[in-house]
């Protein structure tokens, strides 16, 4: 029975750093590109070429460490991890073995539980094999692209926690400009180490490692499959063997790649081509100062200081560019609530993917948005008008005043509003009767009539009050 077991899981996450150049040479890290065009003697590992460690990469990795509450090793060095594979041009990966840049951090889940971060180290990515009808080819454009590997403690107890942990990692990386974490481009890949043990046991079971999972959904699916597989093995009295697995997305199944008898012997030793390096406290403080407010602090502040609803805060804080826009608008004095509502209701209605919200590439400036929100704040226009105007602004890139006439901005006075309400009741006798006989939603027809005839200027709550009194 599955319920007899508890899961123990730790995740190794590879994150491609947002550096324009590779870790050991000046070649571009741009995704795509004709095969083998972003290459030089260094990243091709040609005989005689030597690596030169990018200081930007070290800084980004330190930034990642600080953003994940790690302590930074002031002295560090690179190691060679030796193994042979055609996509690895030197037959060793330059990585860090026993002296990683960052150690001992954590990520806090919504429940308050902390997932420990054992270490973060820097390393180079490998190239890519391209299998074609004429054979297998190697593209080394990705070789030497800088990565950090974030290793968690085995603190993850459910697939949902794994999902939340990795989602939070991604948000933090994006927020602090450490990585774009575009998962479809492989900029964030997770290796899930998972084992089962009887509830209450204090020894670990044998773990398997499912490598290179590239979406949050797949992490959950792969983990559920692996939990089921291991439980079935244990239930049948078998033993789980230490294996490297792969999640086959198309077939939704876990496939064994190779069993690890004993251990992989990577023959690590200190990289002689790169001297030991140091980071001083002043540099660390500079990097710390460059880390912006992180997403979960932001969410807190939006709710506690700006008075946003949790709903609104949750819809904003995940998207760094949205937050930047939102904050630029409210910094001019526009109210947070109206600004948030217009963003979430009107602007987001034009986006169909998360990616579009993340990019938040819109044609409206914060200044024009602020002008519009202020009309709304001062009740010069209704929410409906504001929304309609905003849609026109988004479409044309023109300012708010292009769509709002001075006449629109004159208030509907009490006499005019009364007259509009009377007219609505007279011209919609059926709706009026419906309201009288208890079909309350018919009031919307009458209200809509008032709003339409006032070109949206009327205060709809006030209009409803008058209509009810008339009926």
């Amino acid at each position: 029975m599955l319920t007899d077991y508890e899961m123990v899981c730790g995740i190794e996450t590879h994150v491609e750093l947002a550096s324009k150049t590779k870790i050991f040479c000046g070649c571009s890290t741009a995704f795509g590109g004709e095969p083998n065009t972003h290459c030089c003697p260094v990243c091709l590992g040609l005989p005689g070429a030597l690596p030169v460690l990018s200081s930007e990469v070290v800084r980004l990795a330190v930034k990642a460490g600080l953003a994940l509450n790690c302590s930074i090793n002031l002295h560090s060095h690179m190691d060679r991890k030796n193994y042979t594979y055609p996509d690895l041009p030197k037959a060793y990966q330059i990585s860090q073995f026993d002296e990683p840049l960052c150690v001992g951090g954590f990520v806090t889940l919504d429940s308050g539980k902390r997932i420990g971060i054992t270490r973060i180290h820097i390393e180079e990515d490998a190239g890519k094999l391209v299998h074609g009808s004429e054979g297998t080819f190697v593209d080394y454009n990705r070789a030497g692209v800088p990565l950090i590997e974030i290793v968690s403690e085995p603190d993850i107890s459910t697939p949902e926690e794994a999902r939340e942990y990795t989602e939070k990692l991604r948000l933090i990386m994006r927020y602090a400009d450490i990585s774009d974490c575009r998962m479809q481009e492989g900029q964030m890949r997770c290796d899930v180490n998972l084992s089962l043990r009887l509830h209450g046991s204090d020894t670990f079971g044998t773990r398997t490692e499912t490598k290179n999972i590239n979406s949050f959904g797949n992490i959950v699916k792969a983990m559920n499959l692996e939990i089921g597989r291991q439980a079935a093995v244990l239930d049948a009295g078998g033993t789980v063997i230490r294996e490297t697995m792969r999640y086959d997305e198309d077939a939704n199944r876990i496939v064994s790649m190779r069993s690890k008898e004993g251990f992989d012997d990577y023959r690590f030793f200190p990289e002689p081509d790169i001297p030991r390096f140091s980071i001083d406290e002043a540099e660390i403080n500079d990097i710390r100062a460059s880390i912006p407010e992180l997403p979960f602090e932001k969410r807190e502040r939006y709710i506690k200081e700006l008075g946003l609803s949790e709903y609104n805060a949750d819809h904003l804080y995940r998207y760094k560019n949205v937050c930047a826009f939102f904050e630029a608008v409210i910094n001019t004095g526009a109210t947070p609530r109206n600004t948030a509502n217009l963003i979430i209701v009107t602007i987001f209605s034009g986006f169909s993917t998360e990616g579009e919200k993340e990019d938040f590439d819109i044609r409206v400036t914060a200044q024009e948005m602020a002008k519009l929100v202020k009309y709304l704040d001062e009740k010069k226009i209704s929410m409906q008008t504001a929304s309609k105007t905003l849609l026109s602004m988004l479409e044309t890139g023109e300012g708010a005043d292009s769509f709002i006439s001075p006449e629109d901005l004159t208030d509907v006075d009490a006499d005019e509003l009364l007259a509009l309400c009377q007219k609505a009741v007279e011209e919609n006798p059926k709706a009026a009767d419906d309201v009288r006989s208890g079909t309350d939603k018919a009031i919307n027809v009458l209200k809509g009539h008032v709003m339409k005839n006032s070109r949206g200027r009327a205060d709809s709550a006030e209009a409803e009050r008058i209509i009810r009194s008339l009926l």
């Binding site: 040609l46 005989p47 005689g48 030597l50 042979t84 037959a91 023959r267 690590f268 081509d273």
Partner: protein
């Protein structure tokens, strides 16, 4: 006999053109190389083009000292578009798409590249006999070996194929063949010369070095290639102060100083009688010049050679992993999988000594053996470095033999362990990254050259060259070699 300085003078006065000089050296190589086998790849087209370019600069005036002078590079130093094969079948046909920094700097000076010289395969050896092109022969007497691994460069300078040449020294590979061929061989401080473009053997020891007919000429060539390089993080500016020797001339302060020399017991124990006698003559000579000279002991040196071989093989096993037949060099036919391709290509491409060192290196890095071998060797390395440092607190330089034995004949039976012992006197300098030079100092019972070594403190090439020049003045033997210069 023309030195580098005389040739430069003639070029500047336009008594001879670089093109004429280059053609003269080419003629000499074409005549004598078939017997000596010192040059394995000729770059004559490039040489003629570079010579023409040098002549233009010379005509304009203000050309650097080395402008228009021919040079040879060891077959493990990359030059764009030219065969660079480490004398291994594994790299047959390989033409690097870029220049090694050391060569680039010489090219910027206007030097003319004549070709690549013979060497032990991947520089693994001390005889040059493991070359896939066959061994080079000693110009002093072709029935003797040249030593190695930079045997081709040593033989080439000795035979007058070029006034100067570059080699590489990981455990003695410049100094030992220089000693055997009767020329000067300088291994600079680790980090003094960029390794970018030097095909790696053991990265933490490898250093490009120079061969020349005299200490002064070696100093000039070293001055042209040394210095930091943004392509090599292990290069280091060192402590070359203004006014220190950079162009082969002594600074005034150095010229009159009283040298303090140490003879290290562990470096001169168990050496051949003829070598010992030469060392004694050097000791007497230095004493006679008023220098202070004393015998000291650095006990950790007894473990230096094994430590050197453990670390060198470990690094080599990693450095040579990349030769898998996928991207360049030898590719085996008919392999069905990557693994088969790599295994077959390596099996066919590498010679026995290379395979031996890869296996040794893989073993000492393997799980369960790392602590006993590699880590221990690194500890020895640190102890040795401290021992040298202490010696240099009291003494300017160390005087030592270059090779523990005299030049062997071809065909003399030697086991692998004997060959490894060849590095006994030279490898300690690599282990500690120290500058060292071999200077021709005597003749053995066969009439072959014997070189002695001056080892100095890190980045103190100035004192090393100063002491070496003294040694040269005092002991330089005259060998009836094929040497001399083409013009």
């Amino acid at each position: 006999m023309n030195t580098l300085f005389e040739l430069s003078e003639k070029l500047k006065k336009r008594e001879i053109s670089s093109l004429e000089l280059t053609k003269a050296y080419i003629g000499r190589i074409d005549e004598k190389n078939p017997l000596l086998n010192a040059v394995v790849h000729k770059t004559y087209d490039k040489a003629l083009a570079l010579a023409e370019r040098a002549d233009k600069r010379l005509a304009e005036g203000n050309a650097p000292l080395l402008c228009g002078i021919p040079v040879l590079l060891k077959d493990n130093i990359c030059s764009e578009g030219d065969l660079t094969t480490c004398c291994s079948k594994m790299l047959s046909g390989y033409r690097p798409p870029y220049d090694a920094t050391a060569w680039k700097r010489l090219e910027e000076q206007g030097m003319v590249l004549l070709g690549k010289t013979n060497m032990d395969e991947f520089a693994f050896g001390s005889t040059s006999e493991t070359s896939c092109y066959g061994a080079p022969k000693n110009p002093v007497d072709p029935s003797f070996i040249t030593g190695g691994s930079s045997g081709g460069s040593a033989a080439a300078v000795s035979a007058g194929f070029a006034p100067v040449a570059l080699g590489s020294d990981t455990g003695g590979s410049v100094r030992q063949p220089a000693s055997f061929c009767g020329v000067v061989g300088l291994k600079p401080t680790y980090g003094a010369v960029s390794r970018y473009g030097l095909i790696a053997y053991a990265s933490s020891f490898d250093q490009i070095g120079v061969f020349a007919g005299s200490v002064k000429e070696a100093g000039v060539l070293f001055g042209a290639i040394r210095g930091t390089d943004s392509h090599d993080m292990t290069t280091c500016a060192g402590f070359y102060s203004a006014g220190k020797r950079q162009d082969g001339e002594l600074s005034a302060a150095s010229a009159g100083r009283r040298l303090k020399l140490a003879i290290v017991r562990e470096l001169s124990d168990g050496i051949d009688e003829d070598v010992k006698n030469t060392l004694e003559r050097a000791r007497a000579y230095f004493s006679g010049t008023g220098a202070e000279i004393a015998e000291v002991s650095i006990p950790s040196l007894v473990s230096a050679l094994p430590a050197y071989y453990i670390i060198a093989c470990a690094e080599a096993s990693s450095n040579l992993g990349r030769y898998d037949g996928v991207r360049y060099g030898h590719r085996a036919e008919g392999a069905a999988s990557f693994e088969e391709l790599a295994v077959k290509s390596r099996n066919e491409g590498f010679g026995d000594e290379v395979k031996r060192r890869i296996m040794l290196g893989t073993y000492v890095l393997s799980g369960g053996y790392y602590d006993a071998w590699y880590r221990k060797a690194c500890e020895v390395r640190e102890t040795v470095a401290r021992g040298f440092l202490k010696t240099f607190e009291k003494y300017d330089v160390i005087l030592a033999p270059t090779s523990p034995f005299i030049v062997p004949r071809f065909g003399e039976k030697r086991g692998a362990a004997d060959l490894y012992r060849a590095d006994m006197c030279t490898a300690p300098a690599n282990l500690s990254g120290l500058p060292a030079i071999s200077v021709p100092s005597g003749t053995d019972r066969n009439g072959m050259p014997i070189g002695l070594q001056i080892i100095g403190n890190r980045f103190d090439e100035e004192t090393v060259l100063f002491a070496a020049e003294k040694l040269e003045q005092g002991l330089k033997p005259q060998h009836d070699t094929w040497g001399g210069y083409a013009c």
